[in-house]
Amino acid sequence: MHVRLLATVAALGLAGSLSLATAADKPSDPQIAHIAYTAGAIDVEAAKQAIAKSKNKEVVAFAESMLRDHEAVKQQALDLVKKLNVTPEDNATSQALSKAATAERDKLSGLEGAAFDKAYVDNEVAYHKQVNSALEGLLIPSAQNAELKGLLETGLKLFQGHQQHAEHVAAALK
């Protein structure tokens, strides 16, 4: 069941699937820390690719703001795990996220110009939506440590902001 779920997650490019995880799959704090870190690192890589490839000023500016915010969150997360003395633990969700992100990056690397811009921004909207539903439905309710929960809650507001920002950029591209 678990394996099949993960295969579906990868096949769907993760669409909403993270929220399908049941209470039995409740991640531990070290796993949550790893998932949060991975989710941020994925968007940093996506932003770097867009900055290198896009010629659209607005798309590049958006990617730069993603890079800046996610680097800031990453630093906060690293500071927190150090303070709490938690070792982030790799897990199936992190792996599924990474796998889907690698596939997306490969797909985007084959696109140029306006086609790339549209695909990147559309994926940013979809990706932030998925991460937000995972934060709301699974990660925040599962977090045991209050500081970790607090970081995730701020992260949710940040990601919701990114989703709206991406939606604005997507609308402007049309």
Binding site: D69, A72, E153, T154, K157, L158, G161, Q164, H165
Partner: protein
């Protein structure tokens, strides 16, 4: 004419501070008078802005502040360009 001096003193412009912390403007809604300064203090580790569509755009770097002087009466809705879910309002009285 003491009355005039007094009213001039009362009309002195104020500075109203809005704090940005954890992705929110606080207080989200403020009341001001024409000539007042609104100052945003960014306590987040994220860069924000206080922007009015078609109007001013105040950049708020990490741990820095920025300000604007309100010069017209009315309701001003502003937001952060980087995080459009961050919203604030200034009600400016004449």
């Amino acid at each position: 004419m003491p009355t005039l001096i007094l009213s001039a003193g009362m009309a002195q412009a104020a500075t109203i501070e809005v704090t940005i912390e954890k992705m929110a403007f606080s207080p989200a809604e403020i009341a001001a008078k024409i000539g007042d300064t609104i100052e945003w203090v960014n306590k987040d580790t994220f860069v924000h802005t206080a922007s009015v569509k078609g109007g001013w755009d105040v950049q708020l770097p990490v741990k820095k502040s920025g300000s604007v002087v309100v010069d017209k009466a009315g309701t001003l809705d502003y937001y952060c360009r980087f995080h459009p879910n961050m919203k604030g309002r200034i009600i400016v009285a004449p």
